[in-house]
Symmetry: C2
Subunit: 352 residues, 2 copies
Amino acid sequence: MSVIPRPLVPQRLAESRSVPSPPASGGIDSLEGLLAQEFARRWPENTAGLDAVHRYALLPSGKLLRPHLLARSALAVGGSLDAVLPAAVGFEATHTGSLLHDDIIDQDAVRRGRPAVHTAFGPEMAIVAGNALFFTWFAALAECAANGIPHGRIVAAMEIQAAAGQQICRGVALELSLVGNLEASPETYLDMARAKTAVLFEAACSVGAVLGGGEERQVAAFGAFGDHLGCAFQIRDDLLPYRKDVRGVGKPADSDLRNRRPTLPVLLAHRDGTPAQRAVLRDCMTPGLEQREAFGRLAGVLHATGALEKAEHNAQYHVEQALRALAQIPPGAHRDALLALASDGSPVARSA
Amino acid sequence: MSVIPRPLVPQRLAESRSVPSPPASGGIDSLEGLLAQEFARRWPENTAGLDAVHRYALLPSGKLLRPHLLARSALAVGGSLDAVLPAAVGFEATHTGSLLHDDIIDQDAVRRGRPAVHTAFGPEMAIVAGNALFFTWFAALAECAANGIPHGRIVAAMEIQAAAGQQICRGVALELSLVGNLEASPETYLDMARAKTAVLFEAACSVGAVLGGGEERQVAAFGAFGDHLGCAFQIRDDLLPYRKDVRGVGKPADSDLRNRRPTLPVLLAHRDGTPAQRAVLRDCMTPGLEQREAFGRLAGVLHATGALEKAEHNAQYHVEQALRALAQIPPGAHRDALLALASDGSPVARSA
């Protein structure tokens, strides 16, 4: 898949940067460092029970994309990082909680090169540990009140989080209902991807803007940015197994196929393929075929039909829409950081 | 177990009732009717996906004990039922969500005489449907803001709910860690029962008092009431399998034994039994023995050691403490209703 071009920052936006972008290892790194430090502080070593499970799941921390989005959104509208830091942590907690459950549902035994939580601690503990992290999301938000964030903003943020949580569950349920269904439309897939993944990106940006004191118009712009960024992210995450350069990163490459999940390129290939190509797709999605062989044949059809490129173009469309949304918020270093995040075409490092 | 006396309302408190208690089919019934109506409205027939799963899990509604506690607590401090009704619904939602997961963890295929949700819809869907109900808890609380409840109270309620949710998970994790451990102390069991069950009763009462505008002192009294009521409830719930009059109600009678869960009477029997009786308990808690035979032998030891009566006395102690806490809140019909709830010794009808 190295033929697929990285999306470019639209020239218009790149030119409109009002301040120099932060040095490559400047602002962003320090925010990442601060976030990572906060996770290590909250989930210390030598704990037992659920705390130990949570530490295993949360540390060492990955790219902390969702906390990053929240913090940058809050800062971009003039909010204080210290005040919103707990809410940022909460987003990583709930994201991790959903990964714990996803790995049970998908029977993925490995995550980030280590035994998944349900493999290491048992599925019962993984269910409970995931649940606890969902509640941590709201407990962390409540801490922002003690940090001086007005109650009205906290309630607005709670409403966004609760609605996002419900939407994510609808997305996962929709995904379950699509198992093995090659006749599903690409639009249905995108609805599912939006609910399952993009909604949490959208919520991280919206909650950041709300807690930071952004105006309604700004909150909507941050939400649109997160939504489109999340759609691009999910599409590219589903494309990872077909990229030779990054195999072994994120979830097991055969997870979607083994779980008979019709991802966007598969649905596009089925829509646009010849009867013979469709038959191959059907064969590959039927239980029984040896996994490596099935994967090879499936990948062949995805390449031959141009479905991988089409899916990547869709991801690029969402990146462009995300950048367009950013144009509506105050220019500055934080907007530049979000822009850089969206412009970095690879979701690989963020798959954790 | 019909030899065990129903706990009596302490004379002192019964005499202090300042208003006549509501007619037996008066206030309480209309509140129950209102709550049941609200559930039917929110989860209508002929829906699909998660909504259909939620309807199956939530309707027909049981005794709605937790919503009842919240509503009565709010009313007792002068709150409005209409304003807090969504929060009351939210408590039943999250309770039901935890039952969905408990049934997966305990591999209980039946709930209230019907296939459990994971039996009817699959464990994947039961995990996701449970999660969605946790988020509904907070979405419903947010609705109370639109009903005119001040933001400061909503934030305080969110903090209580989030902490309670985390505690419940700790309780379930502790329960998992106690599997097969007959050496655990009765105190450890009570810690677990408090976290797993009583915390949600406590939260329902506290949130009701907070949203209703109660003073800090009153909120604490309602919390103590809910805590003790919940402890009594959990102890009695664990005693149900040994009551000949109510078998077949609630969870399967062999669930705790099959899952090697040391409940209070089992731990008391082990603590107080002879070496021979302990050996029987160990045998019964070892996988391999035929379930019906194991249950019969276990019940024999629980009877012979007086452990069932001791556990029931502990439950009665908690009922008395609950009633004592009620003495600190304003007398009236709503306090009377809570008092009647606690005085009704049987948790049977509330097991749902």
